[in-house]
Symmetry: C2
Subunit: 122 residues, 2 copies
């Protein structure tokens, strides 16, 4: 139990740090940004901000800001939901799709490296 926690803690630290470096240097994305982008791509239709919130390990406020950053970078678009104008839809742009497509192999390589299953070179 404590052992599991140790494992989670050290794995998380290692992977997070490596992801931050690799995604940041090569694609200008933070781990949260990539995670959110990834969710949106996989969903591949309009998505309420709130739905996103459930699938992502971020508070609502943090998510709001990540999406704001992504929009500022032109990777996603935010627009108000017509039927319920409190809600906000997020959808991916072409640039966002491209960026995600580029970044995905990097993420995979880092994870493979950290989890050591496949000794992929980053």
């Amino acid at each position: 139990m404590v052992g599991t926690w140790q494992y989670v803690l050290s794995t998380h630290a290692k992977a997070m740090c490596a992801l931050e470096r690799a995604l940041g240097e090569r694609h200008g994305l933070g781990p949260s940004e990539f995670e959110v982008l990834d969710r949106i791509v996989r969903h591949d239709r309009q998505l309420r901000l709130q739905e996103l919130c459930d699938g992502v390990h971020l508070s609502q406020s943090a998510l709001s800001r990540v999406v704001a950053r992504l929009e500022k970078a032109g990777l996603v678009v935010r627009h108000v939901c017509d039927s319920d104008r409190r809600g906000v839809f997020v959808s991916i742009t072409d640039a966002g799709r491209v960026r995600h497509h580029e970044a995905l192999p990097t993420q995979r390589a880092v994870l493979a490296e950290v989890f050591g299953d496949t000794p992929a070179r980053i």
Copy 2:
């Protein structure tokens, strides 16, 4: 691989959040503070800051500040190493030992809850 990462990510988020709440509310400690305190207690003799750095998932600067906070709270003492006056030793105080002793069951309970092995009530 991606699955493992998902597991690590969600477990980490859940446990970290729960620890932050429980340790904070009941013992006035953050997760990092508890982790550092725990290391020091288990080592149970003078410890160089740098040695601590290896065992803890924090950068050197973050560790420096955590120790500063702990000292300010009277839970540890910092003092310069005589043989190499760049180095700093950290040792636990009685108050620190007491605080750790109180907080340990809380940590265990949270971990048990999150990892679900023993359905301990917090």
